[in-house]
């Protein structure tokens, strides 16, 4: 039985420990979708545009949701949003900002740059698992995006 190919979840996170924790949390949440992790905004953009390291990527492998950290080297989360959201082909991909910051202005700016959701990193693994489960459930199962055929 061939399951329909699941769209990947793109995790953009510079801290290797956080990357690992998030990947692990997705696993613990028993989420089937593949999780692709990149370490900064530029790499994420390369992935979306199938450039650089991701030249070989399958065209249909656009992520179902992007989990985005804000503070990153090379290209930060804001800049990434600034590049992605005005591009019509990419605008519909939901972006969930997952950040340490609780600073109102960071949240406001994220929403202003058309982030779809903002979540604060919890400081507790169990809670993190709950969060990624909820993110997956809402953005990958409930939320509808154009199929882009």
């Amino acid at each position: 039985m061939v399951e329909p190919r699941r769209k990947p979840i793109l995790v953009v996170e510079d801290d290797p420990l956080d990357r690992e924790m998030i990947e692990l949390a997705f696993k613990r949440a028993a989420i089937q979708s593949p999780v692709v992790t990149v370490s900064d905004g530029q790499a994420a953009l390369d992935y979306l545009q199938a450039e650089g390291l991701f030249r070989e990527r399958q065209p249909e492998d656009l992520p179902a949701v992007i989990v985005l950290d804000l503070a990153m080297p090379r290209m930060d989360g804001f800049e990434f949003l600034r590049r992605v959201k005005p591009t019509p082909a990419l605008a519909a991909i939901p972006v969930v900002v997952l950040t340490t910051s609780e600073f109102d202005q960071d949240l406001s700016q994220s929403y202003a740059l058309r982030a779809n959701s903002c979540i604060t990193k919890p400081g507790d693994f169990e809670r993190l698992v709950e969060i990624v489960r909820a993110v997956h459930e809402y953005w990958c199962e409930i939320n509808k995006v154009p199929q882009g055929k």
Partner: protein
């Protein structure tokens, strides 16, 4: 306006002489006339006397002639010597009588001439008679008888008498002519006197008019003008236009009043100037100096004005500012002391130096003259608390200028103000620079601390997450103690995160512009209560909000943070066994509206009333939840709005936090309708 008369050109002294002459001259004339008349009448009187004398003499001569005649006749008849006595007497008297008559008419040759034949006839008669007498004595009677019979003697007598009559009548006629003339003169004198008196009266009137017009009138005008000016009203022109001392006085008064007015306006302008030059604008000290030279130049009407600042370290002048186009040329250039001796003297003596003619001393090198073309120079020291630090140099370049005492005094006063302005500007700049440096360092530190706090939050979170992951993954494989320790690591990490987040919140207050809006505290209080619902329920607490609270002008989130922190604080520090009773209300104090949050908790000793607002200064129980930064956040928010926050408390009884925030009505300038807000 009266046209100037030729008379008005004369000085007051001459005018007075002239006016006096007007009156004195007729009086003198009249006196001369009167004296002349008097003299005439005296002369007439003398003439009458003389005539009388002449008549007497003439009669005497005639009677003597008669006596001679009669005596002779008697002698002839009786030949007695006795009859010759009158003859002899008369012979002796004749000559003196004639001489007297001559004396009387000595000034009249005609009359003198008339006397000569009379005298001759008398002598001839006497001679004849003598000869006849001598003949008689000798006995010769015939000739004598013939003489008598012939009537020769009678004839001679008649002739003499006739001649004397003519003489007399001429004199009489002269006398009557004289008398008539004297009478005419007397009547003329009489009329003349009346005329002169009338004339004097007229002249007196004329003189008084003239006096009024030329002296008393102008004097009154001058007095009025002086009073007018004295009472502070300016007078443009004093209507006294004569060319005399009074006219000059009027011009002098006008000049004086103009000068005084000018000086007054200069003094009035002075205050404004002081304010103007001492205002420190964005151009700082340089702007102040520039305004000083421009203002001084305008005020004293000098085209080149410099502020020279003495530089102790290099022993030279530095041009602080120069008026007009000189500024770009000279600003910050250096002048050496040897080439600016006058300015240097002003600096060292501390007294203004005035040189009316700079060219009078060509041997001395003077930069201001040689390089800038100054014709005269006035330098005034600029004095600070430690003596003169520079000079204000005023050097007209177009023409020489005699600086008056007033100019010097005015510039001295100006220099005092200018010196203060310069010192203030220097202080201000120094303070500004220091302040800016401090501010920059503070901001840098703040940024650094914020970044560091932010960077610390990630590791703390990861620590907590890892600990919780370990507990999950190794559940059952770790002993109970290891599990508990991992739990503590997780909690510590989470506490660290919370604390850092609080610190970041505190640091962020006021750094981002927040929207100020009209906020109803009752609504915010309701949100706060909702947020604390769990805690309230858990403690069985009661939170009351006053029926009416004033609308505030602030950021809603800020007010929420304030009330949230204060309410949580009140709920946390409760007395065991006594359910917290919290009240949010408002009180009117002297002239401000103060909001408060009151509780019945453990209270705070007065020694700690200040300290509790410092970050991390948590007092009392360690086991009470919280980060110890809530009150610091409250204080920082309140102070952001220039408000005040303070505490009053009775340990064991309860605590009241008071705070002020701007009222909405204050902000809009109109009071807002008081609304009822339910709790």
């Amino acid at each position: 306006m009266r046209a100037p008369l030729p008379f008005s050109r004369l000085s007051v002294h001459r005018k007075l002489i002239l006016i006096l002459a007007f009156i004195v001259l007729p009086v003198v004339g009249m006196m001369v006339l009167y004296l002349n008349t008097l003299r005439q009448s005296l002369a007439v009187q003398g003439e009458v006397d003389r005539l009388f004398e002449i008549q007497v003499q003439a009669e005497a001569i005639l009677s003597m002639v008669l006596e001679v005649q009669d005596g002779f006749r008697g002698f002839v008849l009786v030949r007695k010597e006795k009859f010759l006595e009158p003859f002899n007497k008369a012979e002796a008297a004749f000559d003196p009588a004639i001489a007297r008559l001559k004396q009387m008419v000595r000034d009249d040759p005609e009359q003198l001439q008339r006397l000569t034949p009379i005298e001759a006839r008398l002598h001839a008669l006497l001679e004849k008679k003598k000869r006849l007498i001598d003949a008689i004595r000798l006995g010769e009677l015939k000739a004598a008888r013939e003489h008598i019979e012939s009537g020769e003697g009678q004839n001679a007598l008649n002739t003499i008498r006739e001649d004397l009559r003519v003489f007399e009548s001429i004199e009489k006629q002269r006398l009557s002519e004289r008398r008539a003339r004297a009478e005419r003169l007397a009547s003329v004198t009489q009329y003349g006197l009346v005329g002169v008196v009338i004339g004097i009266l007229f002249l007196w009137w004329l003189a008084s008019r003239l006096l009024a017009r030329t002296i008393t009138g102008p004097l009154a005008t001058l007095t009025a003008a002086a009073q007018e000016f004295g009472s502070g009203r300016p007078i443009a022109r004093i209507p006294v236009f004569s060319m005399d001392e009074l006219g000059r006085l009027a011009r002098t008064m006008e000049e004086m009043q103009e000068r005084i007015s000018r000086h007054i306006s200069q003094i009035e302008a002075f205050q404004a100037i002081g304010q103007d030059i001492s205002t420190i604008g964005p151009d700082g000290l340089e702007g102040v100096l520039k305004r000083i030279v421009e203002t001084a130049g305008n005020m004293l009407r000098v085209d080149l004005c410099l502020v020279l600042l003495w530089d102790e370290t290099i022993g030279c002048w530095k041009v602080g500012a120069a008026s007009g186009h000189w500024h770009d040329l000279l600003y910050r250039s250096v002048l050496i002391r040897e080439e600016t001796p006058i300015s240097f003297k002003a600096l060292t003596t501390g007294h203004p130096q005035v040189v009316d003619d700079l060219e009078a001393r060509p041997e001395v090198v003077l930069q201001i003259r040689d390089r800038l073309g100054g014709k005269s120079l006035l330098t005034v020291p600029l004095r600070g608390p430690k003596g003169a630090f520079g000079v204000l140099a005023l050097a007209p370049t177009r023409e020489k200028r005699v600086f008056t005492d007033w100019d010097v005094r005015l510039s001295q006063q100006f220099a005092v103000q200018a010196a203060i302005a310069i010192l203030n500007a220097r202080l201000y700049e120094a303070a500004q620079q220091r302040g800016e440096g401090l501010q920059n360092r503070l901001e840098e530190l703040e940024r650094y601390a914020t970044n560091m706090a932010h960077d610390l939050k990630g590791p703390a979170r990861r620590m907590a997450e890892l600990a919780s992951l370990l507990r999950i993954d190794y559940k059952g494989r770790l002993d109970e103690r290891a599990d508990r320790y991992l739990g503590w690591i997780r909690e510590t990490g989470q506490q660290l995160m919370n604390r850092i987040e609080e610190v970041l919140k505190l640091a962020r207050i006021g750094t981002v512009p927040e929207v100020v809006e009209a906020v109803a505290p009752a609504d915010v209080a309701r949100d706060v209560i909702k947020g604390c619902e769990g805690l309230i329920e858990q403690q069985g607490a009661r939170v009351r909000v006053a029926d009416w609270l004033p609308k505030l002008a602030c950021n809603r989130v800020h007010l929420f943070q304030v009330l949230d922190n204060l309410v949580r604080n009140a709920l946390h520090f409760s007395v065991d066994g006594r359910p917290p009773d919290v009240e949010i209300g408002v009180v009117k104090q002297t002239n401000e509206t103060v909001l408060f949050v009151r509780d019945n908790g453990i209270g705070i000793p007065s020694s700690d009333w200040e300290r509790i607002f410092e970050p991390f200064e948590r007092l009392g129980h360690k086991d009470v939840q919280g980060t110890g930064i809530g009150l610091a956040i409250v204080k920082k928010i309140i102070e952001l709005y220039q408000g005040r926050v303070w505490v009053e408390s009775e340990p064991g009884e309860g605590t009241t936090f008071f705070f002020t925030l701007p009222l909405y009505g204050d902000l809009a300038g109109v009071p807002v309708r008081q609304e009822k807000a339910g709790s």
